[in-house]
Amino acid sequence: MSDTRTTPGLTRDEMAQRVALDIPDGSYVNLGIGIPERITKYVPEGRELIYHTENGLLGMGPTPEPGMGEPELINAGKRQVSAIPGAAYFHHADSFAMIRGGHIDLCVLGALQVSERGDLANWSTGGVDAIPAVGGAMDLVAGVKSIYVITQHCTKNGEPKLVESCSYPLTGPAVVDRIYTDLAVIDITAQGFQLVELSPGVSFAFAQERTGATLIPIPQDPTTVKGE
């Protein structure tokens, strides 16, 4: 992906930083490939998160210096990583027992589309000639306690990714809890897309225009805002 962004709004790194603010100390976190991986750089001082990678490591550490990595110490994206002191290795069935069994607190994933009821589409564009490839995405959304999506508000062509109903094949129905985009932070509620926060310089109208379903404005009384 190029670093094109909808102006105004957050950069990808700012989006990752915004998500990092909301993750409580001590959380067990699984980060999807791409923008979610940037979150590790922005965890606030004093918080310790434990990163799970579904290929069998709890306590994933930073990317090693060039040339210092090992081909048998990789993450789910098949990139070389490291392990922190206190890490543990385990096999795939145990790893997905952690996921399916509800032991991971939070998973942050990218998205093709999110519907106002929290349906997520992020594994396939449904193209006839495409090679279908699902990986662990369906397991993660079915098993992890909270699912956050981090995504550009619109596609490169300006199409909304937040929609009434997903046109792409679902990864899971009604699984997303919260969406972080370049333009806003949005909760999935029984009423639909509940706006929690607008990025600096973004107006409600601007965000609504770029959303494929109704955005519910931030309530006037700030104490009723659902958030961390």
Binding site: I50, G59, F90, A97, I99, H103
Partner: protein, 236 residues
């Protein structure tokens, strides 16, 4: 910073509530978290459903918890053991209910509970009285019964070494049910003989990763049930 260590067994079990389901590690005396069980007796929670392979022996540990009238139901495979005198009386009087589960089915149900598997099929118990009330289904010409995942509010576990993240290794056949129970409980409490700095346990050899553990308490020199029984100890 993550630090799951708590100062003592009393603090570790302080929030066990009346009516809770409590998995207790151990097979016979091997792996029995006696100090945590005694702390639970002191704490007073009652009407407990206990999951363990056995029903304890003598009048210490699990047997003492049962004797104290705190256990309304026990889910186990083998409630009859040498020196197991407490449970038979309460069972016959109707004070303690029993759900008898074949040992392998018990282990698999607990793993399923921890792994997000609500139900699975097993050949064990087909054609026996323990099949009663279960759904039977044929796969590839063989009959199986449907069994359900088993979860708990708390697990009390005995480990050998742990760290602040809750990583645990065990001692020989004291491992038994503990790793799957640690997975299946909402709150898993481990007593370990020693606590080491994070990173001291080899990540290749950790049996229970810390994600399954909520609290760790050091009990440096845990009692052995058989020794206490031989001494005629009765707790409290």
């Amino acid at each position: 910073m993550i630090n799951k260590q708590v100062p003592g067994a009393a603090q570790a079990v302080a929030d066990v509530f009346d009516g809770a389901t409590v998995m207790v590690g151990g097979f016979g005396e091997a792996g029995s978290p006696i100090e945590l069980i005694h702390a639970l007796i002191d704490q007073g929670a009652t009407d407990l459903t206990v999951v363990n392979n056995n029903t304890g022996s003598g009048e210490v540990g699990l047997a003492a918890l049962i004797k104290a009238g705190r256990v309304s139901k026990i889910i186990c495979s083998y409630p009859r053991t040498t020196n197991s005198t407490v449970f038979p009386k309460l069972y016959r009087s109707g004070a303690t209910a029993l759900e008898l589960v074949p040992q392998g089915t018990l282990a698999e149900r607990i793993r399923a509970g921890g792994a997000g598997i609500p139900a699975f099929y097993t050949p064990t118990s087909v054609g026996t009285t323990l099949e009663e009330g279960k759904e039977r289904r044929t796969f590839n010409g063989r009959d199986y019964v449907l069994e359900y995942g088993l979860s708990a509010d708390f697990a009390l576990i005995k480990g050998r070494v742990a760290d602040r993240y809750g990583n645990v290794i065990y001692n020989k056949t004291a491992r038994n049910f503990s790793p799957v129970m640690a997975m299946a409980a909402a709150t898993t409490i481990v007593q370990a003989e020693s606590l080491v700095p994070a990173g001291e346990l080899d990540p290749e050899t950790i049996v229970t990763p810390g994600i399954f553990v909520n609290r760790v308490v050091m009990v440096a020199d845990p009692a052995h049930e058989s020794a206490l029984v031989a001494e005629g100890v009765s707790y409290p």
